[in-house]
């Protein structure tokens, strides 16, 4: 286990940081520790949030205090749960990789040192994990692609990445949550909405969810975009 740090984050929060740089191991630890803290049902805890490499335990200063929460955290860190911390849900999400839907696929594949066909095959054959959600509500950071996908963000921002775009950088994929500028490269397009504020359940993903992408023709994606009875043709299976 890597060395963790326990820091304050606000007068009502303690942050446990498992690493200062993102690694698969640190993210696994953060996701597992979040589940462990929630499961422990500590008195006065108001929120347990995870990010790429850390977990923030928020508390109500009227019901508990930093010293007590920190002691509980230290105790929990010393006896990590043996339970399976694997994904609870598996998503399958259709993606179109045709030129109109993937304007930077060729460029990204070249940077990764593979052909476009290989790139699509690698992206659709791997089970990704939601390592964190953020920057926009519901927007998932999916990791980790093989090391040759450790490609930098481009320095010139794409002014308006479309909602549902599949973008890549630094061994991660993002499904874009809103039309927004980004330095990540546009390598595919889904008809999937990760965030629907008016829906009964606005957020599609939870941290730790598993995600697989399946390639569809451009025409099929356009058909999916026009359908109102499905969220981009995605399926979600609960894993035992």
């Amino acid at each position: 286990m890597t060395e963790h740090e326990i820091c304050p984050l606000g007068v009502d929060g303690v942050l446990v940081r498992f690493a200062r740089i993102l690694t698969d191991e640190a993210n696994s630890q953060a996701l597992a520790f979040r589940a462990q803290v929630i499961h422990a049902e500590l008195l006065g805890v108001t929120e347990v949030a995870s990010s790429l490499t850390s977990v923030r335990v928020g508390f109500d200063p009227q019901r508990t205090n930093r010293a007590d929460i920190t002691q509980h955290i230290v105790d929990l860190l010393e006896r990590p749960e043996k339970q399976d911390s694997g994904p609870r849900r598996l998503w399958r999400i259709p993606v179109a990789f045709g030129p109109a839907h993937a304007p930077q696929l060729a460029q990204a594949a070249e940077l990764a040192g593979v052909t476009q066909e290989q790139a699509v095959k690698e992206i659709t054959s791997q089970r990704m994990r939601v390592i964190a959600l953020g920057f926009a509500p519901g927007q998932p950071y999916l990791g980790m692609l093989p090391p040759h996908w450790d490609i930098p963000r481009q320095s010139e921002l794409t002014p308006k990445m479309p909602n549902g775009a599949l973008v890549v950088a630094v061994r991660q994929l993002i499904i874009f949550a809103a039309d927004a500028p980004t330095g990540w490269r546009h390598i595919g397009q889904t008809a999937f909405r990760v965030y629907q504020p008016d829906a009964p359940e606005p957020f599609a993903f939870n941290p730790g969810d598993a995600v697989e992408f399946c390639a569809v023709a451009d025409s099929e994606l356009i058909a999916l975009q026009n359908r109102t009875d499905t969220n981009g043709g995605a399926t979600c299976k609960v894993l035992c």
């Binding site: 007068v11 929120e47 790429l52 809103a178 965030y195 504020p197 939870n206």
Partner: protein, 341 residues
């Protein structure tokens, strides 16, 4: 809406460019990437609740400029937060004081004289639909929208329009000054020299600011990390002071992101964040690092804060000490009118 009972309605006759419905926000969705949001100056929502004798409710947050409003039912209202020029007909509408707004009367709220975010609250609260258990507009998350002229909003009924008026005296939080900062997870990433220099700098609140955060301007070098240290994005809380690539500080407010990649030198205490939010462009601000123990000693729940504010509310009965021209009153003959204000 059920039966024949119609909800009171608020009508917006004209409005400033930055007016939204705000309550205390929607906590609990950080892990999904949705920040709590809610009023930029949360204290103003609690002050309104204390004065009106209600739980914290949704009101109008008016950034810089108010508007003209009326209701179709008598209701008590209160203006908190930034001091805005406000009148009902020809009469001034005082700040931090319960006021009875009669059906059809026009409440005219102008520009902020002191501060940035003014709040207009109604005894029955604004009763727009809940989204994730809150009525707060969260612009960056696409929840709600900036209000427009001609819009009407549902209000709750004021069950106590005849209750005695109250007022609340608060410390002025619109003039900047020294803001207390507690250490955060990345404070140690900054050199001692950078931290010392930050604490010795007088900043000016930039015109660039909104519900997400406020930029601070200063003369001299920026406050960057040493070298080209690239840090992994991590969780953010409102009050965090982040340094952009050029080392320019931004203090994050209620509608900030949940995760950010810019280094953060520390966190403004929640107790001092209203001062930061209310500092108008040009206001001078300084920062003082305090210890974790001192910071934690200021932690207080909304429940306690509200209970204390309720105790501070005073009935609007004139105390002889407040009457500067006491001697001019004809106290002996007792002929002053009984309905003096």
């Amino acid at each position: 809406m059920q039966g024949t009972v119609l909800m009171p309605t608020l009508t917006i006759h004209s409005i400033g460019p930055g007016v939204t419905v705000q309550d205390l926000g929607r906590p609990g969705w950080t892990v999904q990437g949705l920040s709590t949001g809610g009023a930029a100056d949360r204290l103003a929502i609690l002050e309104a609740a204390a004065l009106l004798g209600t739980p914290p409710q949704a009101g109008l947050e008016m950034m810089g400029f108010g508007g003209v409003y009326s209701t179709d039912t008598d209701t008590r209202i209160v203006l908190t937060g930034a001091h805005m020029q406000a009148t009902i007909g020809d009469s001034p509408a005082p700040h931090n004081t319960t006021i009875l707004l009669r059906a059809g009367q026009r409440l005219n709220i102008g520009g902020a004289k002191h501060g940035t975010f003014g709040y207009l609250s109604f005894a029955g609260g604004i009763q727009t639909d809940l989204v994730l258990e809150s009525r707060s507009t969260h612009l960056t998350a696409g929840i709600g929208a900036v209000l427009q002229t001609g819009t009407t909003l549902p209000l709750g009924t004021d069950s106590d329009t005849t209750s005695a008026p109250k007022r609340l005296t608060t410390d002025d939080r619109t003039t900047g000054g020294t803001i207390r900062v507690m250490p955060g997870p990345q404070t140690a990433f900054f050199s001692d020299d950078t931290k010392a220099s930050f604490a010795q700098t007088t900043f000016v609140r930039s015109p660039r600011g909104n519900r997400q955060g406020v930029r601070l301007d200063h003369d001299g070098a920026g406050f960057s990390l040493d070298g080209a240290l690239n840090i992994t994005s991590d969780l953010i809380v409102p009050g965090d002071i982040q340094m952009t690539g050029e080392g320019v500080p931004y203090v994050l407010l209620s509608e900030c992101q949940t995760i950010g990649g810019y280094p953060r030198i520390g966190t403004v205490l929640p107790a001092d964040l209203p001062k930061l939010a209310q500092a108008a462009p040009g206001t001078k601000l300084r920062f003082a690092f305090i210890s974790l123990a001192d910071a934690d000693a200021t932690a207080v729940s909304d429940t306690t804060l509200l209970a204390n504010l309720r105790k501070d509310c005073q009935p609007m009965i004139r105390d002889p000490h407040d009457i500067v021209d006491l001697l001019s009153y004809q106290l002996i003959s007792g002929v002053t009118a009984g309905n003096d204000p």
